[in-house]
């Protein structure tokens, strides 16, 4: 006897514990299986690009903070680099080192949130709190430097807002020493947990060519086996002075490019970031951090595209200048936004629980998807 079955449409979000903000998913379900996923975005849209047109160049910096609020330092970093490219500014070396230290600390902090919330999505709440405990330490470092814990407004065009506090380098070294064993703790507790591997390996497999075609960047692309990192491949700031590797997914627990790979690449990246921070703290030169900050930014007519390797992928700023103090147009290429595009494709044929696992492994920040 043929049973009469029908598909069910389930609305997930914008208020849902695991949509990482205000993403709304429209799932078409056949029992527990996914037939189709449509993601609806825009609940956090704040007209960043339009706002920026009414601001002067330095005034845009705090607005970039509010895009990817888990990686504010890196948003400022990218914006400052792009405007400096437009201006053709020479930046003191100390500033570059400070920016790299901040950027890599931010990468660790951002990955900690990604890994912790991913654990919570899979059902393990304890690693989540462990990750946040360690992230707090980074936030304290940021707080003593910039005075803020989330939205820093620290990296300015031409320099940084203020020099590092006297104790900063010592405390950063201490943090690096403190944090190294914590990665192992996280691995023991979560990464190599049998249940966790069962839940994430072979789920949401993203092949390399598909990832490239969709324009996926960041840890998600590297998990698919593509060795592509702007810090090495289109190097900026002083990244060429440091010795670090680019981890890629190797399909150790399943297939290359599955959710577990995307998770584990982030853990390996944290280790590499620690290496960069260690070297940067050793090599940082003395000097003035504000000498290059221009008093009035009025770039020549022209356009520029600058890109950096944000914790989530390629963060690009396209700035058009009409020669006035306000940018004529700023377009942001947000990594979360581009990475989210493949989400529906990855989910097909999986179960409801896998939707959460896949979404968590993409690691989106809605503030940046919607801007």
């Amino acid at each position: 006897m043929a049973l009469n079955t029908e598909e069910m449409t389930l609305n997930m979000g914008p208020q849902h514990p695991s949509t990482h903000g205000v993403l709304r998913l429209e799932l078409r379900l056949d029992g527990e299986f996914i037939v189709d996923v449509k993601s609806h975005i825009g609940y956090l849209h704040r007209c960043f690009e339009k706002h920026a047109e009414a601001m002067t160049y330095p005034q845009v910096v705090p607005y970039t903070d509010r895009m990817d609020y888990l990686a504010s330092m890196y948003n400022e970093f990218g914006y400052a680099l792009t405007v400096e490219k437009l201006l053709g500014l020479e930046i003191p070396e100390r500033v570059e080192f400070i920016r790299v230290i901040m950027g890599e600390l931010q990468r660790i902090a951002s990955h900690l949130v990604a890994l912790g919330t991913y654990g919570a999505d899979i059902g393990a709440v304890t690693p989540f709190l462990f990750c946040f405990r360690d992230r707090e330490k980074i936030l304290s470092l940021f707080e003593m430097t910039s005075g803020a814990r989330l939205l820093y407004n620290y990296i300015w065009v031409g320099g940084v807002a203020r020099d590092l506090p006297p104790d900063f380098l010592r405390l950063t070294k201490e943090f690096v020493e403190y944090f190294k064993p914590k990665i192992k703790e996280l691995n023991d507790l979560l990464s190599f947990n049998k249940i966790f591997i069962d839940r994430t390996a072979n789920i949401g497999i993203l092949p390399k060519d598909v990832a490239v075609n969709y324009g996926i960047t960041g840890p998600m692309l590297r998990a698919s086996g593509m060795k592509w990192d702007l810090r090495k491949d289109d190097t900026y700031s002083v990244y060429n002075k440091f010795d670090f590797d680019i981890p890629v997914g190797d399909g150790r627990m399943g297939t290359v490019g599955d959710s577990w790979d995307r998770y584990y690449v982030r853990i390996l990246e944290m280790e590499q970031s620690l290496r960069i921070i260690e070297q940067a703290v050793e090599q940082i030169p003395d000097g003035d951090v504000s000498s290059a900050i221009p008093r009035r930014i009025k770039p020549p007519v022209g356009q520029v595209y600058g890109r950096v390797e944000n914790p989530r992928g390629e963060l690009g700023y396209f700035i058009v200048s009409d020669g006035s103090v306000n940018p004529k147009r700023i377009k942001v290429r947000g990594p979360s936004f581009v990475n989210l595009a493949i989400f529906g494709e990855l989910c097909k044929g999986h179960m409801i629980a896998d939707v959460i696992a896949i979404l968590g492994s993409i690691d989106i920040v809605l503030g940046e998807v919607d801007r």
Partner: protein, 357 residues
């Protein structure tokens, strides 16, 4: 026995049995649920480098009471689209099903709410009502999340009842009784008489039974975890997917009923495991009351041991919950049908052969 005492006091057998069956609810399980909720929060907090509730009373001791007071004051929301009758009955069924199980559990040798011969069967049967209550709750809420949660929950609980029952039958073959009081009495003496160590079976059979009893214990512990929907089997509530499963739409006291039922269930299944394998209320090393000649001390000691062992298993459940991630629904079913049921079945056969020796 407590029943005789009440029968003499009230002069009516029906009244006596009602009183004696209800007593553990008020004297033991309600207070236990209050403490267990706090315990869970404290245990989880300390596992996670937090302090947990600290404000209400010393180290947050009164937190649960504050929570319950808050829940009582909350508006009892019943949405227009809910099926009101089912919606209102469901928490009662879940609550009653969970608490009724305690009527047949012997807390001490002189206190058992209702000393029925098929005690173990009664507990498993009455727990079946919980399944219906959960399905009712999920359906009546008229919400897709609750429906999915309820469906998962029912599938899970019914599946895991099979290995549980197989283990119960295994024990039944060795001891020959389903009366929980007798089952406990069989395991009296020292701890090597507990079923996990082969029970009070004479001769070589006892040695042979030990490994299979340990396997049986493993099976029943895993399946009881699943039956009370605890991590790693908490997929009906899976807050990261289904918000909070079948009780998403409930508020106020009805929600509290689900909540308290969950904690009562945790102790109920721990109690069953303790009675089946760890000698129930029996002391592992003999009684102080016996050695110093104060026989009224024995029931108190027994109550202590019973609570001690039961809470031990509850703590184990909490430990697991705050350590492990959650399985997916198909993996959960695979655990049950591909591993636990075959293992329990083979175990049953082998234990059957051993008892023939």
């Amino acid at each position: 026995m407590i029943f005789d005492f009440f029968a003499k006091l009230t002069g009516s057998e029906i009244l006596a049995s009602i009183i004696s069956a209800l007593l553990p609810l008020f004297l033991f399980i309600l207070p236990f649920a209050l403490i267990a909720v706090l315990l869970e929060r404290k245990v989880s907090a300390h596992m996670q480098d937090r302090l947990g509730p600290m404000r209400v009373g010393y180290h947050g001791l009164l937190q649960t009471i504050a929570d319950i007071l808050k829940l009582i004051q909350k508006e009892d929301i019943v949405a227009d689209s809910n099926d009101k009758t089912l919606f209102n009955i469901a928490p009662l069924l879940v609550f009653a099903g969970s608490y009724a199980a305690f009527a047949a559990i012997p807390f001490t040798s002189s206190y058992i709410g209702s000393n029925i011969n098929l005690g173990l069967f009664f507990i498993i049967g009455i727990s079946g009502i919980v399944v219906i209550g959960i399905l009712m709750a999920g359906w009546a809420s008229n919400n897709k999340y609750t429906l999915l949660g309820a469906m998962r929950c029912v599938a899970q609980m019914i599946s895991f009842e099979i290995p549980t029952l197989m283990v119960v039958v295994t024990i039944l073959m060795v001891t020959g009784t389903l009366n929980l009081n007798e089952l406990t009495e069989i395991q009296s003496g020292f701890f090597w008489n507990w079923m996990i160590f082969g029970g009070a079976v004479p001769g070589i059979a006892k040695i042979l039974l030990i490994p299979f009893m340990i396997i049986a214990f493993g099976v029943i512990y895993i399946s009881t975890l699943a039956e009370v929907n605890r991590t790693p089997f908490d997929i009906p509530e899976a807050e990261s997917e289904l918000v909070s499963g079948y009780h998403t739409e409930y508020s106020g006291m009805k929600f509290a009923m689900f909540y308290l039922a969950e904690y009562a269930n945790m102790f109920a299944v721990s109690a069953i495991v303790v009675i089946l394998f760890f000698g129930g209320y029996q002391s592992p090393v003999g009684y102080l009351g016996n050695s110093i000649g104060l026989h009224w001390l024995i029931p108190i000691e027994q109550l202590f041991w019973f609570t001690f062992k039961g809470v031990g298993f509850v703590l184990l459940q909490m430990w697991l919950r705050w350590t492990l991630p959650r399985l997916r629904v198909d993996q959960l079913m695979a655990v049950c049908w591909k591993y636990l049921i075959p293992i329990a079945f083979v175990n049953l056969l082998i234990v059957g052969l051993i008892t023939l020796i």
